[in-house]
């Protein structure tokens, strides 16, 4: 369990998606960037919610245990998803780089 969850470090690839020159017919760069941005935002938001929920439970403000645990699970899944998306982006980039050699 990663708490607190730190944001995925992918500044480089975020720039890359706009500079990848793909043939027009296979140009998904707009959607792709959107998916990426969404994944990052998802990780941040679920991560914050999880931290807040766990703190709420520990401080005894009425936060239910099962809610806090679910918030943590959501954050974990978002992180996992974000990780997979990033890996895809990185491998796509590497593929492109190799093709250009």
């Amino acid at each position: 369990m990663a708490l607190p969850i730190s944001p995925i470090q992918i500044p480089a690839t975020a720039d890359i998606s706009s500079s990848i020159a793909l043939p027009a017919s296979t140009q998904p760069s707009g959607d792709f960037r959107g998916v990426l941005a969404g994944a990052i935002q998802n990780v941040e938001q679920t991560g914050n919610a999880a931290t807040k929920a766990v703190e709420g439970f520990l401080s005894g403000n009425g936060q239910e245990l099962h809610s806090a645990i679910l918030a943590v699970q959501r954050a974990d899944l978002a992180f996992e998803l974000g990780l997979q998306v990033r890996n895809k982006v990185v491998s796509a980039y590497q593929e492109i780089m190799r093709l250009q050699m």
Binding site: G62, E64, L70, A78
Partner: protein, 122 residues
Amino acid sequence: MATGLHEHRFMLDPLASKLEHYMDLLSARQKLVASNIANADTPGYKTQDIDFQAEFLNATDGAPVNPVEARGLAVRNDGNNVSIDREARLLSENALRFSIATNLMRDQIRSVKMAIEEGKSG
């Protein structure tokens, strides 16, 4: 319940949100059952409950749950109307339903996780 917690409902929804709400209500109900049992011999005490169906259909969670007086219970001489049998039954039922909900939830989490990891290869 901490406010704002239910704002970020990504991942797992919409089933998980319903299950979570269900579990919230079961917990609230169980708290009242415990109070009823503790006050089973308190003069004047009236059995408390929540209108489960209504609360569950009213899907805006994070809203406080309203305890109501249970109806149809016989009142004894000292004004108390707690039925230990009713409370014992509710105690078991709430715990059982909670267990069903957590199992369904675990399943859901596992499915999503698998779906994410499915995309790993290729």
